[in-house]
């Protein structure tokens, strides 16, 4: 066990490891006797001298057009960087962060992995390699990135991630359904009030309150607290104070808005709808998904869903506009922007290769055109976002995203503990909707708990 053996003995010497060493030797020899040598050998990652160095890449791009685009990008990287031999490993999206951290603790992390702005917060527990030295040494032009995305790439002032693309949120709407009920498909809702009104006209409710077709509900496909909070005028982080801070008034208004939907439909009917059609964002990558079968008319998702529509619902006449905002709010934004990141775990075998790949993904025009755009996300560098191919993209979503939404979006939180904070807010919202809890109370509780978590992570 060449590399791992070294790594382990170094770590083991730190603390109470004498006992374990004895155990490992005996356990290992016994495992060999039992014929398990094979699986132990998997750990050996022999690297012949002078050959290419392996770069292990973890992403969630398993099947379909996004996976093909990823394979193309990796091949391009290999062609441009003959020193590196990339190896692509597919991990389910929902578990990628947990699994990378667990593998990091185990001493066998990948050299680079896909994540989001929220993943940068893992730097707080020391799970990421600081990329600032690489950025400095290679004179990477950071000013080319969107300011919000650049902020998300940094943890405590140092770059810890390279962003390939930036997600903005769209309000998707089904024009066919709007025509069916006599709404004008060319004037979709731009404010919360209009959204409520038009959504109500589109609902189809059964005799016993069962939701047969949904116009709009902020519970579908998810509560999306970050985005709706922004639309209601809240922020999440106070840079000066270095801690969580929300606009209480805006968030209370948001939670009351959520509650108004639970009251309107009946909480149990909303739950029934979610449970009936749920599962992977309501079947977004199957033709049975609610978006392609007219079961919902208005919904908010990231721009990444745009090209799904063409693939799974080619016959649906749909379009996108910015997320509606609360008119009365001062600082409302059309949702949040979220950088798609490539990150290099701490203590990985080949951080040079990891950074090389991350940097390639964030700076290559090939990737921008053949990976970011087909995934319907905006390249994170303004030089790449202004390539002619971007403007020519059909449907006009690129121009909408780049010129209208991106500059006005709120930056999605990337501090350490952002995941905990998001969960706490969602739990609070559920308690308001389904148990009649007081919005001000649950918000105060969620903020207080999350601040503790932020402090815990700081050590």
């Amino acid at each position: 066990m060449s590399e791992n053996g070294k790594l382990n003995s170094k770590q083991i010497s730190r603390r109470d490891m004498l006992k374990m060493l004895g155990g490992s030797a005996a356990g290992l020899s016994l495992a060999k006797v039992a014929g398990l040598g094979g699986s132990a050998a998997v750990l050996m990652r022999g690297m012949p001298a002078g050959a290419q160095s392996k770069v292990e890449i973890w992403t969630g791009f398993g099947q379909g057009r996004m996976a093909d685009a990823m394979t193309g990008a990796i091949d391009q990287f290999a062609a441009e960087n003959p020193d590196f031999a990339p190896e692509h490993i597919i991990v389910p999206w929902g578990e990628i962060t947990d699994r990378v951290i667990a593998a990091t603790a185990a001493g066998s992390p990948p050299d680079v992995h896909r994540g989001w702005s929220g993943t940068v917060g893992n730097a707080a527990i020391g799970a990421l390699t600081n990329l600032q030295p690489y950025v400095d040494a290679q004179n990477v032009d950071l000013m080319d990135f969107w300011p919000a995305t650049l902020n998300q790439m940094k943890y405590q002032g140092d770059v810890h991630a390279m962003s390939i693309s930036t997600i903005v949120q769209f309000l998707y709407y089904n024009k066919d359904r709007m025509r069916e009920v006599g709404l004008d498909p060319d004037s979709p809702p731009t404010t919360i009030a209009e959204l409520d009104e038009q959504g109500a006209a589109l609902n189809e409710i059964g005799d016993d309150g069962e939701i047969l077709r949904l116009g709009f509900s902020p519970t579908v496909p998810g509560l999306q607290v970050w985005d709706w909070g922004a639309a209601f005028g809240s922020q999440y982080w106070d840079e000066a104070e270095g801690n969580i801070a929300i606009d209480e008034e805006a968030m209370i208004a948001l939670f009351e808005w959520y509650k108004s939907y639970a009251d309107e439909f009946g909480a149990e009917n909303l739950q029934a709808y979610a449970s009936t059609y749920g599962g992977n964002n309501f079947g977004r990558n199957t033709p049975q998904g609610i978006y392609y079968t007219g079961l919902i008319t208005f919904w908010v998702l990231g721009s990444w869903s745009y090209n799904d529509m063409g693939e799974y619902g080619p016959d649906v006449d749909f379009d996108v506009i910015p997320v509606p905002q609360l008119e009365s709010a001062d600082d409302s934004a059309p949702g949040t922007s979220n950088g798609n990141m490539y990150l290099v775990p701490a203590n990985c075998a080949n951080p040079d290769g990891g950074f090389a790949f991350a940097n390639f993904m964030s700076s290559s025009p090939y990737v921008a055109i053949n990976k970011a755009l087909p995934d319907s996300v905006m390249p994170s560098r303004s030089s790449l976002a202004n390539l002619p191919e971007v403007d020519e993209k059909e449907g006009g979503w690129t121009i909408l995203a780049r010129d209208e939404i991106l500059p006005n979006s709120l930056q999605r939180p990337s501090f350490g503990g952002n995941g905990f904070f998001g969960r706490a807010l969602e739990e609070g919202a559920e308690n308001v909707m389904f148990h009649g809890a007081d919005p001000a109370e649950v918000l105060a509780d969620a903020v207080a708990r999350s601040r503790r978590e932020v402090e815990r992570l700081r050590g």
């Binding site: 006992k19 155990g23 909480a267 739950q271 389904f434 148990h435 815990r456």
Partner: protein
């Protein structure tokens, strides 16, 4: 009736006394090693971690004294929610499964024909892997297209949302757990079969009613099996994880957040290993306390036939 030979250890002079002590240790050596490596070490390590802020990435856990325990008792709402949920789950499951399993075992013990077929059927759910069973149940309990509400619809009842509603999710999980409790049915059945039929015949002569016979003969003679099943059920249900993690993930609105699920989330999502270790220790003390309590309460009442 087939009787096993008595425990030789209880028979005086039946064993040679000049045994070399080394042989005993020779045979149990693997256990001793496993005990130290996989029980003693984790036991004390988790105790130690529970007093630190360990997060598995940086290998320098800082001693925080009782902070984790103070946080858990005085602050963390999820701790109390999960402990309440786990107790509710264990208690309701215990009552429901015990009554149901004894009832089915009783019916099976009536010398019915096709016993082996029935027995196979009630044991069958044990064979379905937890993940396969859980996914199937999610689909069965789909409020609109699932089998359960489809059947209820036939008799004109609008079924609830089962796993999707905070009001019914917990009961759905208990229902599913009872479905999977076929192992206990077999144990109870063996208990029923061990009750000598002469006892019932004697009671018949005395003119005892069915209920009286059940209370005076069946129940007392079934206590060893009840004792065994109750203890194992409590230990297992308080540690329940897989089914719940797959079917509800603790939701909706934390209504099924069992203790073990909360612990797993804290340990492997938030990587708050120190805090999760403190949670694990509270769980250990809880299970230990409950088990001792049951031993104390039930063991005096268990009636061994011979």
């Amino acid at each position: 009736m087939f009787r096993r030979k008595r425990d030789p250890a209880s028979q005086p002079n039946s064993w040679r006394t000049d045994n070399l002590p080394g042989w005993g240790l020779f045979f149990i050596a693997p256990w001793v090693f496993g005990f130290i490596a996989f029980t003693v070490y984790p036991f004390f390590a988790s105790l130690y971690f529970s007093f630190t802020n360990f997060n598995i990435i940086n290998f320098t856990p800082r001693w925080v004294g009782l902070d984790n325990y103070v946080e858990l008792f005085t602050y963390d709402p999820l701790f109390w929610i999960s402990i309440g949920n786990s107790i509710k789950y264990a208690a309701l499951l215990l009552v429901a499964a015990t009554i149901f399993d004894i009832f089915i075992a009783y019916l099976l013990s009536l010398n019915v024909k096709f016993l082996s077929i029935y027995r196979t059927i009630f044991f069958f759910p044990v064979l379905v892997p937890v993940v396969a069973a859980s996914l199937t149940w999610i689909w069965i309990l789909n409020p609109r297209f699932g089998l359960m509400n489809g059947l209820l619809d036939l008799i004109g009842i609008k079924g609830p949302n089962w796993l999707a509603s905070p009001d019914t999710a917990m009961y759905s999980l208990i229902f599913i757990a009872v479905w999977g409790s076929g192992r206990s049915v077999i144990v109870y059945l063996s208990g029923f079969n061990d009750i000598p039929s002469q006892l019932y015949e004697a009671a018949d002569i005395d003119g005892a009613s069915g209920l009286q016979k059940f209370r005076r003969i069946t129940l007392p003679l079934l206590t060893p099996q009840i004792f065994f099943n109750v203890v194992t059920l409590i230990i297992f249900s308080l540690q329940s994880f897989s089914e719940v993690y797959i079917m509800t993930g603790g939701g909706p609105a934390n209504s099924t957040l069992l203790y073990a699920v909360n612990l797993y989330n804290r340990a492997f999502h938030d990587f708050a290993m120190g805090y999760a270790s403190a949670l694990a220790w509270i769980m250990f003390l809880l299970i230990l306390g409950l088990t001792l309590l049951i031993f104390k309460f039930l063991s005096g009442r268990v009636i061994y036939e011979r």
